[in-house]
């Protein structure tokens, strides 16, 4: 079925990038981190902390879990990723570039006047499904995608990545309730549980705990994993759907992961990495790769 908003669907089945290339996820994650740091050294800076915490989640999804085909981003067979925490946009751009949706050289345009590579994703960027950034929208969008897959009698799945601070938006819980009521077991939410928001810890600002119990009470199946352990993420994200229950993966992460100078600090939320800071950040990443 075609629509006015999509390119004509391809007849080519989407493929998992991983099965095609047998990639090294640690290497992919390291490259994504380098792209993120480089983009934050651009003219506008970027959301470095919440992008670095996302890296393994995105790498695992795009290179091991999801069926996607960079040549046909709108393939009807594809699995769908919605980055509800749109401020992780640069990590998504870097992942899409590494996955082959567009050349990595284009990342250098991030934040330059006239570039579609803005702080928050939009559909002018190949591979981006929906524009996001205002928090609390992605899960509702995911419900729409999941309902469409059900109507199409398709096995494709929809993954929605949310921030933990984002869960303070009431619309998230409105949608969580609807997803369970509609028995959308083809919908998977991933929470980037880095524990920090702009003004402090989530536990200080508006505590989310007991978070797993909250999701269970809303009718969801819950997995709790280390969000930087790609094997644990893979296990959780590839578990067979449970009949009638949507799944949420609570991924414990570190904001600013890979940059010891800002790791787990609220100042990592947004940074403009000037010359020296950029060099130090790249050095820290090299250090991390060799250790």
């Amino acid at each position: 079925m075609s629509s006015s908003t999509l390119a004509p669907p391809s007849t080519v089945a989407a493929v998992s990038v991983d099965t095609a290339a047998g990639v090294d996820l640690a290497e992919i994650a390291a490259r994504i981190r380098e792209h993120v740091v480089d983009m934050c050294a651009g003219p506008e800076g970027g959301h470095v902390g919440g992008s670095m915490s996302l890296v393994e989640i995105l790498a695992t999804l795009y290179f091991r879990v999801m069926l996607v085909d960079p040549r046909f981003p709108a393939s009807p067979d594809r699995d769908v990723l919605l980055l509800s925490k749109g401020h992780g946009g640069i990590a998504l751009y870097a992942t899409l570039a590494e996955a082959g949706f567009f050349p990595a050289e284009r990342l250098a345009g991030y934040g330059t006047p006239g570039s579609p590579l803005m702080a928050h994703p939009n559909t002018a960027v190949p591979g981006v499904e929906m524009p996001t950034g205002s928090l609390g929208h992605g899960l509702a969008l995911g419900i729409g995608y999941a309902l469409a897959a059900r109507l199409d009698e398709s096995d494709r799945r929809t993954f929605v990545i949310m921030g933990d601070g984002e869960l303070q938006e009431g619309s998230v819980w409105e949608s969580a309730s609807v997803a369970a009521a509609q028995r959308l077991d083809n919908l998977v939410a991933v929470v980037d549980r880095n524990g920090l928001q702009i003004t402090g810890g989530t536990h200080e600002v508006n505590d989310l705990e007991p978070l797993a119990d909250r999701w269970r009470a809303f009718g969801w199946r819950v997995f709790e994993v280390d969000g930087h352990d790609v094997d644990a993420l893979t296990d959780a994200l590839t578990t067979e759907p449970e009949n009638g229950r949507p799944t949420v993966v609570l991924a414990r992460t570190v904001k600013g992961k890979g940059l010891p100078m800002v790791e787990n600090q609220i100042r990592s939320h947004y940074a403009k990495l000037g010359g020296r800071a950029h060099r130090l950040a790249r050095a820290a990443l090299r250090e991390g790769r060799s250790s």
């Binding site: 629509s3 729409g144 469409a148 619309s171």
Partner: protein
Amino acid sequence: MTAPVKVRSSREVYRDVLVEVLADDERAICLDTDTGLFAGVDFGAAARRYVNIGIAEHTVMGAAAGLAKEGRVPFVNTMAAFAASRAIEAVKIDIAYNNLPVRIAATHSGVSAGHLGPTHHALEDLAAMRVLPNMTVVVAADAATTESLLRQALSLPGPVYLRLGRNATPDLPAGPPVRLGEAQVLRQGTDVVLAACGAYPVLSAIEAADLLAAEGVEATVLHVHTVKPLDTATLAAAAGFTGAVVTVEEHWAAGGFGSAVAEALTELMPVRVHRLALPDEFVGVSGSQRFLLDRAGVTAAAIAERAKRSMRGKIR
């Protein structure tokens, strides 16, 4: 005024057409929000494409966007107040920003919710919706125009806001065919233009034209059902011909239909524009739609009075 025989309400017409649309078009899907306007059985074989999301207006707009992105054509049923205020960010970002073919059917618009009160009145929805890029804004005035405009809107590639009432209102008199995006000329006159949108505003404008005719004043009456895109050509031509315009609407004065007309004419054909709308206050008393409009001064007598005032103040 003497009301003709009551017919189906605009929301009943919408329901009947939608049942037909879902039967005919596999892409169409109805998302309901516990309105009670529909039940799954209404759709027969298409019942699986009726989804009652529940009382979750923000979620329903996002879900509609996701479905539309995947090639479906969602029809979202809710009340105008909830579409235009509670869920407006989802409409703005998820639907309008993506230019997706979502049809928002908004019942209980204006003060048609009557004694349900200001929580359920929608006197801001035209302002909220018409400012959004990509959005088409259509106001139904009776059963026949609702059906015609809805059918014409089915093929639009982008989002549509369809403003519906609650209870049945009298039929408009026969006129030229209703065409989406074009003002319907119900009457031609040389002295003043009465441009109206919505059921009672149009009926009152017709009645006002009769009152004016009795005093020798010839009014053009325009039924402007499409607020966006606005038929500025017809409005500017009529304004240029008569030199005076009165707008009538069931909406607050700020930002609504009259404002849209005034904005356009300021650039194209500067004439005196009198905007008759609800005053800048919440309508906090019980009463029927008709009673509340009378109380707010949206009446044929008030339209005629403004028309005469506007003619005295002509600037061209």
